[in-house]
């Protein structure tokens, strides 16, 4: 098992280095440098070019590319993510401020879609070929075909504007910070964000359950005289769930990416909304750091999923 993890790490670390290198290259190639962002544009025109060069030299901008990359990456590893161009705020501070909101939203969506998706998928598999199964299949198809933000708009119209049950957006009202005050804000974005993933999990759970139900141990359990619900739930569902959990592990980073649009629709103050405004204002350092962070999350999640699969299924770690 340890050698398997070591082998996976050996392929992941070069990947991470290559991607961080590409991201730094992109950062380096975008127009403007630190000096042109530190000095107001109307002052920079009147300054002596030699003085500017001196300033660049003192900041280490004259050093060779690889040396600058090394300084940058060691800084990143120590938590120095650089500064946003908008207001010169430390990017690590933006992350600390915004990440909890994004995590809250995506975790809520993850929990909802896992539970709902596996239950619906199981029902669909158990009632295979009937009207209920076909209806669920079509509903699942609708779930992946209607744009998420369109669901969001309709939800805002119905539940916030017409019925007035839930707030239009935002995460909290000033002064009302307790969990119960915040919960109504979370309901709509979390549900809307979970729709597409619920449909995906449902589809996957259905085929996985069908696969499990055709195995020999199910027939054995039935022939022992075990009640049908026990066969389905204790034997079928449990076996069918393992691949579904693996699928969810893979989807976690996708979910963080997918929350970008939903955060905008519901004015949710998370990383995704911050990322969008950074893209709009061409705040390259922030854009690149969010990208780097999301890639690292993907790599980490894939490592965890690989280890989990290897734990469950010995064939994986012994193969290749």
């Amino acid at each position: 098992m340890l050698t398997y993890i070591a082998r996976r790490l050996l392929t992941l670390i070069p990947m991470a280095i290559a991607i961080s290198f590409l991201i730094y290259l992109g950062l380096d190639l975008t127009p403007g440098d630190a000096v042109s962002h530190m000095i107001p544009p109307d002052v920079i025109g009147t300054m002596d070019p030699e003085r500017l060069d001196e300033l660049r030299e003192s900041l280490g901008l004259g050093k060779p590319f690889l040396v600058r990359y090394w300084i940058w990456i060691t800084g990143v590893l120590q938590g120095d993510f650089g500064y946003s161009l908008a207001g010169g705020v430390q990017i690590s501070k933006i992350f600390l401020d915004r990440l909890p909101a994004t995590l809250e939203l995506s975790c809520a969506a993850l929990v909802i879609s896992t539970i709902l998706g596996s239950i619906l998928g199981t029902i669909s598999a158990l009632t295979r070929g009937t009207f209920a199964d076909q209806a669920l299949t079509v509903v699942g198809m609708l779930g992946v075909s209607i744009p998420e933000f369109f669901f969001g708009l309709v939800a805002i119209l119905v539940f916030a504007l017409n019925l007035g049950w839930l707030p239009v957006g935002g995460r909290t009202l000033p002064g009302y910070d307790s969990f119960w005050d915040r919960l109504p804000h979370l309901i709509m974005p979390a549900l809307v964000l979970s729709i597409m993933m619920t449909a995906g999990v449902m589809r996957y759970a259905r085929s996985s359950m069908l696969d499990a139900l055709s195995r020999d141990f199910i027939r054995t359990a039935r022939s022992k005289g075990m009640p049908e619900w026990r066969v389905n739930l204790l034997h079928g569902f449990r076996v069918a769930l393992t691949p579904v959990i693996v699928l969810i592990g893979f989807r976690l980073p996708v979910l963080i990416g997918g929350s970008v649009i939903i955060e905008q629709v519901f004015q949710w103050p998370g990383i995704g909304k911050e990322f969008l405004s950074a893209v709009r204002s061409q705040d390259y350092p922030l854009v690149m750091m969010v990208a780097l962070f999301s890639v690292m999350a993907v790599l980490l999640a894939s490592l965890i999923v690989d280890i989990l699969t290897a734990l469950i299924d010995p064939r994986v770690r012994l193969g290749d």
Binding site: I146, E148, L153, P253, G257, V260, R280
Partner: protein, 320 residues
């Protein structure tokens, strides 16, 4: 038969050589293949299976009618999609304006039709382009292996470790917004999936007997890969093209909705929906966002139905 693309592996075949018995054998095989092509035996079975799938046929009809309506936009639409009419701002649907008018008095019916042209072009165009790149590289490198395979695999791994929308937005921030850039960005971010699928398919049929037979006849790797193995991988490739068309149309809609996709001056489905970010319009002018939202959903749904039908018709393991 001599117009096969040349590549390093074919170099051996280039000097003219005397005809042998093997060539005569080949001619007979070729004749038989040519004779078989007329009968459409394979196509017939595939078609009847596809047509037996009710949802797939419904999907095909919707898909074809939306495309035809968009193509025939100049014949159907009575108004110019771009010219504002300040005397008819936010008019509800009427005999004059079937879907009403938007904030600047532009006819929404015309905008949906013309917008369909651009949205479908982006979706279908990017899917076909990324399939072309993915299949050309994947089929050859999956069969031959070697350094090309290694390099392509690493590049696709790098692309696929980014959450899709983060990578797309990152590239939008760097390359800027335009119709062509969007297609390029979608192609860049989308080829990896289809490349891996084509490659995996080739790996699994590489050791089949007919491939070994062809190799022993002395056929070059390019001809074996593209002419004889590719047709056996075509089913999953077609399914993948339809599914990525659906995904790209959703992504274009999402990006344009955020104002970061196709420039606002060009009508696309996402750009029309952009107006619905204004809560007053969302509440009081349903015709601005509902028809176009329904059109996107219907189109993506039809593409997904077609994709499912194709999968059932081409993949024997998915039957039942």
């Amino acid at each position: 038969m001599s117009d096969v693309p040349l590549n390093p592996g074919d170099a051996v075949r280039s000097p003219p050589r005397p005809r042998t018995r093997r060539d005569a054998q080949f001619d007979r095989i070729r004749d038989r293949e040519a004779a078989r092509q007329g009968t459409k035996l394979r196509g017939g079975r595939f078609l009847s299976k596809f047509l037996n799938n009710r949802l797939a046929v419904v999907g095909l009809v919707i898909f074809a009618s939306i495309i035809l309506l968009s193509l025939a936009a100049p014949l159907i639409a009575q108004h110019d999609p771009k010219s504002p009419n300040l005397r008819a701002m936010l008019d509800p649907p009427s005999a004059e304006h079937w879907f009403g008018t938007d904030r600047t008095g532009r006819d929404i019916f015309a905008r949906v039709l013309y917008g369909g042209r651009v949205s479908i072009l982006v979706g279908l165009g990017s899917a076909l382009l990324s399939a072309l790149i993915g299949v050309v590289i994947g089929v050859y490198s999956g069969y031959v292996g070697g350094w090309l395979d290694w390099v392509a695999m690493r590049i696709s791994e790098i692309f696929m470790s980014f959450p899709q929308i983060i990578l797309v937005l990152l590239l939008v921030a760097i390359l800027g917004q335009s119709l062509l850039n969007l297609i390029v960005i979608f192609t860049l971010t989308g080829w990896g999936g289809i490349y891996r699928m084509a490659r995996a398919r080739m790996l699994s049929i590489r050791e089949e007997e007919y491939v070994q037979a062809l190799r022993s006849f002395g056929l070059g790797p390019a001809r074996i890969a593209y002419k004889h193995m590719l047709p056996n991988a075509l089913g999953p490739i077609m399914v993948n093209i339809t599914l990525s068309t659906a995904a790209f149309i959703l992504q274009e809609a999402g990006l344009s909705f955020l104002g970061l996709g196709v420039p606002m001056s060009v009508p696309t489905w996402g750009n029309i929906l952009n107006a619905a970010q204004d809560l007053r319009l969302l509440e009081n002018a349903w015709w601005v966002w509902l028809p176009v939202g329904a059109t996107i959903s219907l189109f993506v749904l039809s593409v997904n139905f077609i994709g499912d039908g194709l999968r059932d018709a081409t993949d024997p393991s998915q039957q039942g």
